[in-house]
Each structure stands twice: as C-alpha cells, then as structure tokens.
Symmetry: none
Subunit: 407 residues, 2 copies
C-alpha cells in the first residue's frame, strides 16, 4: 500500500496548532579544530534547553545517505514531499529565489550573460562576471524590447552579477529542456531541446526558447562584454499536491527571504509578509495564531554563517534565535518542531549530507531526558535517524490528527 | 526516482583516497557469561580508540532486520550492491572460495559426495563425511575422465571433506537450476531442472548436468562410501555493474583468503595478491597508494574465532589488528571506514543478523565524541543504524564525490 495514501486515509481534522521552525542549515559537525563542539553545542541557549527537557529528539536525513540537498529539496522534505518524487527545476527555484510569482505551466530558466565571438562561439560563460548594475540594465533593455515570443509572455528579472531569470508564460508549455549552454568555453550555444522528445508541450517550449534567442541576441549584440546569454535548468513548475489537501491543515509561511516564501508558495502555503527579524516573525505568528493550523517559520542566518565558515557568527545567530524564542512561546504551539533543512557545517562552508538534529515537543512527544538540543544528543533520541519527509507525519501524530490503523 | 541512478548522476571524479577495512564478522553481542562485554569492548585497542575520537559511528544492517548473511551478500552490501538485487548463486560463491576464476556465462555448482544404494537411493548425503584427501582423489579421477559434456568444458575442484565444485564452461548457458539433491536421505537424486522453464539457456545447462551425471556416476560406482554426488546452488555468475563504472573509483582488493578476492573480482576490483598478514596487507596498501582510489582490505581472523566461539582469540585478533593499524595510517586514507561484513558472535559460533558497528573517518566525518569503537558506542553514533549498502555512499560523500542535489 502507498504510505502517503494511508496517511491521507487516517487523517482527521486538526484541533491543534502546529509549528515547524526551521533554522536553515543549523546542523553541523564537531571537529578537533572547533574543540569538538558544534555551534549548537557551543551556543548558550537557555530557552532551547528548557524545551529539550520535555521533547523527543532525533536526526533527519534530508534526502538519502550521503546526498547534500539544495534549499528546494531540503524544504520539500520538511513539508513532507519526497524530494525524489517532487523534483523542482533549477529555473523554478531561481525564479522563486528572485521573488517571482510562478503560475501553473510557467516555464522558467536560469540565465547567464556571456561573451560570444563573431562566429557565435562562447568565449566567457560569465561575461567576465559583470556587475549586478550592468546585468540590471541589460535585463531592463531586454524586458522592454522582448515582451512576447509566439503566444507566450516573456518575463525577465535580473539576479546577482551575471545571473538573471527568464520566464515563458503561455498555454501548453512544459519542461524540462536540455540547457542552451555548452557548459564550457570554445563551443557555440546549443539549442534547448526537450528532454522527453515525445512531449509536444516541451517541443513548443523549445520553439519559444529558440524564438527568444532570435529576438533577444541582436538587441545586445554590440554590448561588451555581455553580448550573449545562456539558459539552463529550463523547467516548468511541477504539479505538487496542495499542502492543505494533503495534510488537512491550513498552512502559513513566515519567512524573510524570497526563496523560502517561494518554496512555501509551491505547495500552496499562504505567505505572511513583512517580517524582517526572527522576533518579528514570532510576533506575526502570535498575530495570526487563530487563522492557520500549521506555521512554517524560517530563520536564515544559521545557514548564511555556516556558508561563510564563521563559527562564532553561527553560534551567535543561534543565541539570537534562542533569545527571541519566548515570543513564540507566549502562545506555545501544541506541536512544535525545531530543526534545519540540512546541515551547513562551518568546516565545510557549504550544505552537507549530515542529518540535521530535530526536536519535537507536544503533550505526547515524551521526553528523551536530554538536557539540551544538540547533534550529539539527538543521535540517541527516540525519533531515531530518519528521512526528513516523515517529520510532518510525526507532527500530525503529535497533533492527534491520525486515526488508528486497523483494529 | 531510482536512488542508484541519482547517486550516479551526482557522482564527481575522485580526488581522494578511500579505504574500506573489513574485520570479518567483528560484530558481537554482550552476554552475562562474557561479563557483558563484546570482544571489541574487551580488547585493548589504542589505535582504534585514537581514530574513534575524530570519527562518526553507526551500525550496519547487512541485509534486512533478522537476516543473517553469508560472506557473499555481506560483502556485496559493503561494496554498495543491494544483496537482494544482486544475488550470487552458492555454486559461484563456492567456486570463488576455492580460488577458481569464473568467466561470464560459466555455470557453477556446489557438490557433495554422497552414498547411494543399488536402487539409486541416497543413504548418506555426505558419504560419512569423507576425508579431504579422499575427496581430492575422487575429484582428480573425475577431472581426468570427464573433461567435457556436450560442447561444454567441465572443471572440477575439491574442497574440504566431502565438498567439491563443478563448473560448466560453454556457450549459451545460464542458471539457476533446481538442485540435483533430495535434501534428505531415502530418496533418489532428482534431475536438475531450470527454475525458469522458459529459459532455453537454463534448459541447455540442465541437459549438460544430466549428461555429466551419466558420464561421472559410473566412474565412482564401485567406490565406498562415496559412490554418488549431489549438485546444489547451480547458477551462473550474474551480471554485476563494474565497481569503477558504478562509483567512478579505481578499486583494489587486498585480501588473504580466496573467497574475498573472488567477491572483489565479481565487481571488477583488481586483486593485489601476495599478502599473508594484516601488516603485509597494510604495507601493500602503502605501496599501491597512488594506483587506486578505493582499497578493500580484508582481515579474516575475527570471523574465524567467532565461529569457533573463542572469545579470547577473537579479542586477541582485534588487538593484533589494532597493533598493525599504524602501518595503514602512515598514509592515512582521506576517507577510512572500519567495519565488518556481519557479526559473528562468539556465543553463537556462527554468523548472525546483529548489525555490525562501523566507524567512518574523514576531514568532514565530524566526531561523535565516542572514546572507543564498540557496538554499544556505535548505537548512538550519527550514522544511525542503516543498511550496509549505504556505507559506500557515505564514503563517497565524505570524499566529496557527490554534487549537490537541487538548488
């Protein structure tokens, strides 16, 4: 039997408030150089400690052993969508990250400005890493001149440096397409072709991409050094079952950064905008407490400082988070999960595959008798070391949202 | 999505040296009679202890909960091949164990000399457990008289006691065949028949087996007590994806016993022959360090003494292994995994299903803050209690051989 179908069948109406608090990339590793402590272990966290005493703990494998996730699959897993089943194209993630609102059927592509020679050969895939300001000017020019190709609307938005995003909004489109990118210098830009040659919708999308090149390239042909562009990760927004249908809870997202709002929007969460700090995010939760059943609250800085390899700053970010926690606890969620979407070890300056620690608290979570919330403690917690996609099921169970299976 | 396909897609070129060190059957259980200590716990292991401080630990389920593996599936799992997907016939394992080199398409059978009466009824399935010497004489006689059946070459090799191996080397053959063995006394030897009746190749193999019986039985008909033989586990060497293609690493095997060299050969590892002791095996690793990316180093004695139920000797074997370990560490592998292929508890005098402990060390393994490498400690390690087939994926991740999944 399909497990998701079983969960659905057993699902009861929510009578509890459920909150998922994500400290992005919070998981870390203890190394000799760091005195065998992780940032979570080194941080002073009286409020997390107090919660730990009445919590169950464990660790979450984001995807599968050894696989390092991007933010997209990391969050989809926490939202209970198997990241291997629900794959989201890089163009879509990039568009979400720039705050673009995608509609069903939109095909999105990550784009780079590049340099091409007179014969159309790519001589620099990043056009000498042009300034963001130059990129914005070029994008404004293209957006002004190319608003449609065929029967599809074209939306262009600048990112950082040489990066931008192109969206094709029309009828009967789908991805994925193979990249219009030779992936190395010295070759011409290949045509974007359907990954599935039998898909008529992908064929149409490929035709639109070709027309876009035809219309856009002449406009920047005389620019230096960015006189061409590459399109990659060309894909449509996948069909994802709506969160409220799948779990029977009204979901809300409280996040600061566009990428995470975008990922929440992908599964149909309501975005509660306007917060800038974690304190404001918790205040917003309090204000909206009665309006939703499930709150996804995102804290970015643990990941950011992990990426920088800045142990002290990651530790401090955790302490700042901890200091704000009492605001959330003014109306304590009936079920509270605190975890990461993956680990971002300072020693690695990037995302990793190490399972992130998770702490789950409710009236029926039980206590694992751990005094703190740490990676090492979580190793011996009662939740075990499990795939991240099961977290929401444990949250639903703690919210008493599942009927008994069998007599 | 198929997980192995995903791992393949994410695999990058190796830039690190990776070593899998297998202490065969090292896992054990703590019993009252043994003072609640396992051999690993009782042994004095300063070098393993030193490694443990900077390692991640966990336990590996060889196949599935409760399933006790033979050496074949035990090692295939460690090599990352799901032992349920890649099944190797017992005839093939037995042939490998006797040091025979199998070729693609060879069909191999485990054989027993037995005693049959005038009507062809099996009266003793092991012919009174004849001496190895008698077995060798009978095999030599058969090998001399029966070199071919049909268009296939016949290769016969004696094992221990009443055991031997028969290989059919010809065109268009495959297994598996049902055993030419009644599995109990008082019945005639059944014909070996194809497990898949639709397989023409298996039909041909069955015909050759019947012809072999016709040719061979009369030769030993007057011998006592071994005047017949049974053929079991009749199968061909399965198609197994080559290790170097599957993982992108050049693999080498350093082992003393033929069985383990044979299993390594099954997946295409280069066999580095000639070592007799673990110290020599580690020296060989040092000598070949630059020539391979992945080293499988096998230590037999932990299993052997576990099978004997000899706690003191198993403990001593671990201490001898530990004493040799500094040789390996002269050129420390970038990623080092130390584990067993299964447990062989002294109290059980045989293989068991208990997950074997594993210790994984690299610059990004992190430390689980365990002071030693033991079964009980490994229970609370960050790797969790996972299927053995994932170990190689964790080793690849620690070698930074995987690209990020998703954006």
């Amino acid at each position: 039997m399909n497990l998701d179908a079983l969960y659905s069948e057993l699902t009861l109406k929510p009578t509890a408030k459920v909150a998922l608090v994500v400290l992005d990339g919070v998981g870390d590793i203890a190394t000799r150089e760091q005195g065998y402590l992780t940032p979570l272990e080194a941080a002073v966290t009286p409020n997390l400690d107090a919660l730990a005493k009445d919590s169950a703990q464990g660790r979450l494998i984001p995807i599968a052993p050894g696989i390092t996730p991007g933010s997209g699959p990391g969050h989809l897993g926490l939202f209970g969508y198997d990241p291997l089943e629900f794959q989201v194209g890089r163009g879509v993630i990039e568009a979400l990250g720039l705050g673009l609102e995608l509609k069903a059927g939109d095909v999105a592509a990550r784009a780079n400005f590049c340099t091409i020679d007179a014969k159309g050969i790519v001589t620099d895939r990043r056009a000498g890493r042009i300034d963001t300001k130059v990129c914005e000017e070029l994008c404004a020019l293209l957006a002004q001149k190319v608003t449609k190709v065929g029967d599809a609307e074209v939306i262009i938005k600048a990112g950082k440096g040489h990066r931008f995003v192109v969206i094709f909004r029309g009828k009967g489109l789908e991805g994925p397409l193979a990249d219009a990118d030779p992936h190395r210098e010295g070759f011409a830009i290949p045509q974007a072709t359907p990954v599935d040659p039998k898909s008529a919708k992908a064929k149409k999308a490929a035709k639109l991409v070709a027309e876009f090149y035809k219309a856009a390239l002449p406009i920047i042909a005389q620019k230096k050094p960015a006189n061409g562009f590459l399109l990659r990760g060309i894909a449509h927004q996948p069909e994802i079952p709506l969160f409220k249908d799948r779990y029977g809870m009204r979901p809300a997202c409280i996040a600061v950064y566009p990428m995470y709002k975008g990922l929440a929007q992908l599964v149909g969460m309501t975005k509660l905008e306007g917060s800038q700090t974690i304190a404001e995010e918790f205040e917003r939760y309090l204000a909206e407490y009665d309006n939703y059943d499930y709150f996804f609250i995102h804290f970015k800085y643990t990941d950011m400082y992990g990426e920088d390899g800045n142990f002290a700053a990651k530790k401090k970010a955790i302490e700042e988070f901890d200091a704000a926690l009492p605001i959330l606890l003014r109306k304590k969620p009936d079920v509270l999960a605190i975890t990461g979407d993956h680990s971002t070890p300072c020693a690695m300056k990037g995302h990793s595959w190490h399972p992130q620690p998770v702490m789950l608290q409710s009236l029926c979570s039980g206590s694992d008798k751990l005094q703190r919330f740490t990676e090492t403690g979580a190793n011996s917690g009662s939740l075990g070391i499990i795939e991240a996609k099961y977290l929401i099921r444990l949250m639903q169970a703690n919210a008493k949202m599942f009927d008994k299976f069998g007599a």
